[in-house]
């Protein structure tokens, strides 16, 4: 077939004379597990009885989530005055939390898209939960820009955020990065859901077949509905794999553009400390850094509870720690470069903004940020640290804290000390803001717990592809 994939053609004769060096490859599934074991292990989590710990976690998560509901209800019924915002700090925890959560999501897309394009096979066992994390993080992120206007009907009704004229015939301003952000975040949320769902289809088909075989027709119908009648036909796989590759190909520029556009919210303004060209790459590196911190925070307990050590091996943890180290170091470089440019640019306002960050009223936040983001990941240079999962988990918590403080430092310190000393202020959050933010962890956990209960938590078909038995040429040595 002249139109078949070039790589599928039989090897030219010369190749049989070439003796390539044997490169040891890390095994991605330990203990020589076979196809059947993988299916049983992953389906078993969904098919088994709901564990007691799940109910406890779900209950706690739901209670924590109610803090967000209560905080937002109070906000909408009373007004934005219930938050600690006051001139000159009119963006604070709301936007900090928005950027924090949207950044968390980026690791999911990085794992599913960029690592797919780079043919990093170790992504297979972690991409499903990481993508789920992305979607739930975007849900938490979206709460804040919608609610920070107070009167939410000015955000969600047509004519305000989404392109449609309001009743006075006024249209949106497409010159504004805030309007770009609406498109970036809503596209990101939509494409993340689509990508996740497409990856799920074959596994939902497996669930359907297993429930059918077990005689549980109600569940077979439900999973079957979402499986769309998938039956593993190779003619369908061919289109499926192409579609998956294209989705990975477009999600890669998407994930880079989303945090770039989020950083435009700041970089396009004239506030000292915000108006810098380094922001887009610096925000993207920070987003991936925080996202991997969160992936490890979620995966390590999941691995321990469900005994998934054969699927999420030490190699996987090593890889994730190394990416955290690399992106954390990039973030540290960006911090020092900001300082250098503030001095080198010789702009007194810019210089003041950075001296003020490190030594002003918010110096405590700045040094928490440096400690968590620059120093913490450096521990991942050491193999002994990477192999101690408890320690990795604790270090990742510091990463999560540090990245929240990064956004706090950027947003609040710059606003609190703007051009006019007469308008300088000091911002502290109100209890309503604290509760609302605290509650988003409950919203996130609730959604994540539902995910691990009802959806196969790992892409079975993709994991089967990376075990040696899947290779039609290798295993049989023909």
């Amino acid at each position: 077939m002249s139109s078949a994939h070039a790589s599928d053609h039989p090897a030219p004769a010369i190749l049989s004379e070439v003796k390539p060096a044997v490169v040891p490859r890390r095994v991605l599934v330990e203990h020589h597990r076979d196809f059947k074991w993988i299916t049983d292990k992953i389906c078993g989590i969904v098919e088994g009885k709901t564990p007691v710990w799940w109910w406890w976690c779900f209950g706690v998560a739901a209670i924590v989530a109610s803090f967000t509901v209560a905080g937002l209800t109070y906000l909408v019924s009373t007004g934005v005055g219930v938050w600690g915002h006051a001139n000159p700090v009119n963006w604070a925890w709301d936007i900090v939390n928005f950027v924090f959560w949207i950044g968390i999501g980026h690791a999911g897309t990085l794992i599913s898209a960029i690592l797919c394009l780079l043919r990093q096979k170790w992504r297979t066992s972690i991409n499903r939960p990481a993508e789920a994390m992305t979607i739930f993080a975007v849900v938490c992120a979206a709460i804040f820009p919608v609610f920070h206007v107070g009167r939410i009907w000015f955000a969600v009704l047509p004519g305000y955020l989404f392109p449609f004229p309001n009743s006075n015939g006024i249209w949106q301003n497409f010159r504004s990065p805030l309007e770009w952000d609406v498109f970036a975040v809503s596209t990101y949320g939509t494409v993340s859901v689509l990508f996740w769902y497409i990856g799920l289809i074959p596994d939902l088909g497996t669930m359907r077949d297993r429930f059918t075989a077990a005689g549980n027709l109600i569940k077979a119908r439900i999973y079957g509905f979402f499986a769309m009648g998938w039956r593993g036909s190779n003619r369908a796989w061919s289109n499926y794999e192409m579609a998956y590759l294209i989705l990975a190909g477009i999600s890669t520029p998407l994930v880079l553009s989303v945090h770039t556009i989020v950083s435009f919210d700041f970089a396009v303004s004239l506030i000292p400390g915000w108006h810098t060209t380094i922001f887009p790459p610096y925000f993207v590196a920070g987003a991936i850094f925080s996202g991997f911190g969160m992936v490890l925070t979620l995966m390590l307990p999941l691995r321990a509870i469900y005994r998934l050590e054969d699927l999420i091996t030490q190699y996987h943890i090593d890889c994730m720690c190394k990416i955290t180290l690399a992106t954390g170091t990039m973030v540290g470089y960006a911090y020092s470069m900001e300082f250098f440019i503030a001095w080198y640019g010789a702009n007194p306002y810019e210089g003041f903004a950075f001296i003020n960050r490190a030594f002003g009223h918010y110096a405590w936040a700045y040094w928490i940020m440096i400690g968590c983001n620059v120093i913490t990941p450096q521990f991942f240079w050491f193999k002994a640290v990477r192999e101690n999962t408890t320690l990795v988990w604790i270090l990742c918590l510091f990463v999560n804290v540090g990245m929240w403080f990064e956004r706090f430092v950027i947003i609040v310190t710059s606003l609190a000390r703007d051009f006019l000393p007469s308008s300088w202020g000091y911002y502290s959050p109100s209890i309503v803001e604290i509760f609302t933010f605290f509650g988003t962890f409950g919203v996130f956990s609730t959604l994540f717990l539902l995910f691990i209960r009802f959806v196969p938590i790992m892409p079975m078909s993709e994991i089967k592809m990376v075990i040696p038995a899947a290779d039609p040429h290798g295993a049989s040595k023909h």
Binding site: F174, M228, M242, I250, A469, A470, P472, H473, S476
Partner: protein, 176 residues
């Protein structure tokens, strides 16, 4: 009387189904398929399948998305709602770019998935092969080849022999 849909044969390893597919392809069948729990590397070639047509849908979607963004913002600034903001031009591809870029990706995603569903004829909740014995293992750990009865080369006895020669096990006929 129920009509036969075709013959299905099972294989235990990827290597077996790979070579069996080559045999079926070389025997000249056209209406047949392999059912596998995961995509097997190179099986498209072993089956003699052309390259997937999904990218055509994606390209069309991407172009539509980009043009939608650019033309919408141009129409808004130049005709529907001309408003000077900060002394900037009524329309410039520079400020329209981020939105057009996002719409390119959004439309590409929908077109890709729509194209994949269309080419695969999904959703298709009923299919005769789902009635085959042990079909459950097609999405677990076993590999199947199914040859349809309406293939011009189909002959119940000869086709069964071909599948048996190729190493197929549990060969059965399935009803429409």
């Amino acid at each position: 009387m129920k009509k036969n849909y075709g013959i299905i044969a099972a294989f235990d390893t990827t290597s077996e189904i790979y070579h069996a597919c080559e045999k079926v392809r070389d025997a000249g069948y056209s209406r047949w398929d392999a059912l596998t729990p995961f995509p097997i590397h190179g099986l498209d070639y072993a089956m003699g399948m052309p390259r997937s047509k999904v990218p055509r849908f994606s390209l069309a979607g991407g172009i539509t998305g980009f043009c939608t963004g650019m033309s919408f913002i141009a129409w808004l600034g130049l005709s529907e709602y001309p408003l000077v903001v900060g002394g900037k031009p009524m329309f410039s591809p520079m400020f329209a770019f981020p939105v057009s870029y996002e719409l390119t990706i959004l439309f590409t995603a929908f077109a890709t998935i729509g194209g994949m569903f269309f080419l695969n004829k999904l959703p298709m909740h009923y299919h005769p092969v789902m009635k085959a014995p042990q079909f459950v293992r097609a999405s677990d750990d076993r590999f199947y080849i199914v040859i349809e009865a309406n293939d011009p080369k189909f002959n119940a006895a000869a086709t069964r022999d071909l599948l048996a020669q190729a190493g197929g096990k549990d060969i059965v006929e399935i009803e429409e």
